[in-house]
């Protein structure tokens, strides 16, 4: 790990000023940043510790019915919050399917949005990586790439965004609140993360010095609470990143789907909202054949970026099954194995 300066500002304004200098990085819990610094993939000159900043640890219902989540709320606290678990159950399920209990106790909401890809070439300073070092190339293109992107990738970068939490958030139209040198602004989370194109090193819309201070879920997001699931396929039962995941939610009226929401994880450099699939489901009966058609629509533009053509079929099945589970109704309690295809208490076919 390189040597760095450490500062602990007392206010958001001080933090933004300190982080506006070149080479500075914000430090939250550090569960991703310190790991990357240990392997030499990141070498910030200065860490701006935001963990003691006041006012960023609240979960609150606003007057208009939206719910605001401060950037320093820890993943485990958010997943256990009664308001979140009741109104946005797939957010709680996604959070509990990510990382380990120790990491969830530390990791923050803001840090989850800002976490970096787990592409092993990004993490290895000896490998070529356009994301880590612009213009150096991409060793993943001809390397071990069976877990890489199938949507929105470019020749410059085929990495995926690793978050579980962001997937249901994007499906539910979450908004990101940002403070920076130019003041305050906000944007839909769906627009926050960038596809690689020719500039894979630009991962988010944040400008230098800008800080994520919180998230908002709009009142409409709670209308899906009765039929919302997160399903995550991974290479071991627990404590692994998604190969493919899906956040699927339905609003059912008189036996028909009034509105559907779908986002996928593990398939692209950003959490992937699938509006084409949502359109297929509007106004029709919730049955497995319809869900399969929606899955086809969601993956219509998918292309393998390497040894990962299997992920396209896998994603279709995960989407179909996530909708089948959502249509059965949100369970009263998050299953023992959150978001797992091995959860035994759902009774759903293993061959959706």
């Amino acid at each position: 790990m390189n040597l760095f300066d450490y500062v602990r500002p007392a206010s958001v304004a001080e933090a933004v000023a300190a982080a506006s200098e070149p080479g500075a990085a914000y430090l939250g819990a550090g569960t991703n940043l310190l790991d990357l610094m240990k392997v030499g993939a990141m070498r910030p000159d200065k860490l701006v510790d935001i963990t003691k900043l006041p006012g960023l640890e609240m979960i609150e219902m606003l007057d208009d019915g939206s719910v605001r989540i401060g950037a320093l709320v820890r993943n485990s606290d958010l997943a256990r919050d009664p308001l979140i678990a009741k109104a946005f159950p797939m957010v709680a399920e996604a959070l509990l399917s990510g990382a380990s209990a120790q990491l969830r106790n530390a990791a923050t909401v803001g840090g989850n949005l800002m976490q970096r890809t787990r592409c092993s070439y990004f993490q290895d300073p000896e490998s070529a990586c356009n994301r880590r070092e612009p213009g150096s190339g991409c060793d993943a293109l001809d390397g071990e790439n069976r877990t890489h992107a199938i949507l929105g990738w470019s020749e410059g970068c085929i990495a995926t965004h690793p978050s579980d939490f962001c997937v249901p958030l994007v499906a539910l139209d979450a908004v990101v609140e940002i403070e920076g040198p130019e003041g305050r602004r906000e944007m839909p989370l769906e627009a926050f993360h960038l596809l690689p194109g020719d500039t894979p090193h630009k991962e988010t819309y944040l400008a230098r010095g800008e800080l994520v201070t919180g998230l908002r879920l709009p009142p409409e997001a709670a209308l899906f609470s009765g039929n919302a699931r997160y399903l995550k396929l991974r290479e071991r039962t627990s404590f692994a990143f998604a190969l493919v995941s899906a956040a699927a939610a339905l609003r059912i009226e008189d036996g028909k789907i009034a509105e559907a929401r779908l986002a996928l994880g593990g398939v692209a450099a950003k959490p992937w909202r699938a509006r084409e699939a949502e359109a297929v489901l509007k106004g029709v009966s919730p049955d497995v054949e319809t869900f399969a058609r929606a899955a086809e629509a969601a993956l219509a533009d998918a292309m393998p970026s390497g040894d990962n053509a299997y992920k396209i079929d896998l994603a279709k099945r995960v989407v179909t099954r996530a909708f089948v589970l959502a249509a059965e109704g949100t369970p009263q309690r998050v299953p023992a194995m959150p978001a797992s295809v091995f959860s035994s208490d759902t009774g759903v076919s293993a061959h959706a």
Binding site: D5, D49, L103, N105, F239, A336
Partner: protein, 164 residues
């Protein structure tokens, strides 16, 4: 650049001056305070050997900067027993052979104490296994570990009923 940090470790206040901000909580415990019960396994948050409680919550000590935890209360494996009397989780690991080589055991036990404190898993083996998935045991003593955690949970519940 010297940084002063105050931590309460196993009930005792420690004022530490760090000449280097890179020191993790794990390295502070082991190398500066000589509390070597907390183990360094992967040093990347993947194995759980370094699990300690910070303000009552289990975290990976390898992925936390000591300087960032200024003011926190830390409990390590050395702080569990009361004199010669083992903590119920420690006793349960012995009674159920919840280890072989023992290297992961301090982390397993601290994680189990954290899990029981969280109160989400109860005595459901699936929930215990899921809740302990951040702790790897390369000897494969998982069967005994799960039995030990469930027994410790049951004893904790009984004690709580007695107190209530």
């Amino acid at each position: 650049m010297s940084l002063s940090v105050t931590l309460t470790i196993n009930g005792a206040r420690k004022d530490v001056v760090l000449e280097d901000p890179r020191v993790t909580l794990l390295d502070l415990l082991r190398e500066r305070l000589h509390l070597t019960g907390t183990k360094k396994g992967c040093d990347r948050g993947q194995c759980g050997a370094c699990t300690v409680l910070v303000d009552g919550r289990r975290i990976n000590a390898c992925l936390a900067l000591a300087v960032s935890l200024d003011g926190a209360e830390v409990t390590t494996i050395e702080g569990l027993a009361e004199g010669e009397a083992l903590h119920p989780v420690q006793q349960a690991f012995i009674d159920h052979d919840g280890f072989q080589c023992g290297f992961c055991t301090p982390g397993q036990i601290m994680s189990a104490v954290g899990l029981i404190g969280e109160g989400d898993a109860g005595t459901d083996p699936d929930r215990v296994r899921e809740g302990m998935s951040g702790n790897i045991c390369r000897c494969g003593a998982y069967k005994g570990i799960v039995e030990a955690v469930i027994e410790a949970q049951e004893k904790t519940e009984k004690n709580e009923r007695r107190v209530a």
